[in-house]
Subunit: 97 residues, 2 copies
């Protein structure tokens, strides 16, 4: 199994209740049902006010490297990422477990 | 429950086999047994070569906000974080689940 973690930071001046952001969160929430490769899925807003805290997190898992690539290439994932690219940046880490 | 995710980036010029890094990874691997608040613990090197990939990840969970603070304040966690501060930076996200 491969864990795929993503931490998102909203661009300066973008609020969590921005309609684009709300739509982006909805797009992520729908991914779990839309992408068959996903074996584990959590996505949520950060609740920490530490300066090093990012704003939103995706914690997911897929079977193997091929499944991860299929997830990344899935039209629903690509569409959600394109939405987020309008108002946020992110960093990732993938690891086997 | 609260999920506590941390993504670490090694400082420029620091390698994964640097003795300080190896010791830092060992310190994190020992945390799971050392801190009773931890209900879930994964830590591992990133395997993605995407430019947005960070180097190392911690994926943990604790019961609630008070348990998270006890974890952060635990001497074993503070010591491990101090080790990592010598050679890496990191970002976090915490969320309820």
């Amino acid at each position: 199994m491969i864990r795929h973690l993503v931490l998102f930071k909203l661009n300066e001046g973008v609020d969590r209740d921005d309609p684009r952001v709300l739509a982006g969160v909805e797009a992520f929430e729908r991914l779990d049902g839309a992408v068959p490769e996903l074996r584990f899925w959590e996505c949520a807003w950060n609740i920490s006010d530490r300066p090093i805290a990012y704003d939103f997190a995706v914690n997911s898992a897929v079977e193997d490297a091929e499944a991860l690539q299929r997830y990344l290439d899935h039209p629903a994932h690509r569409a959600a990422a394109a939405q987020w690219r309008e108002f946020a940046t992110w960093v990732i880490a993938d690891y086997p477990f």
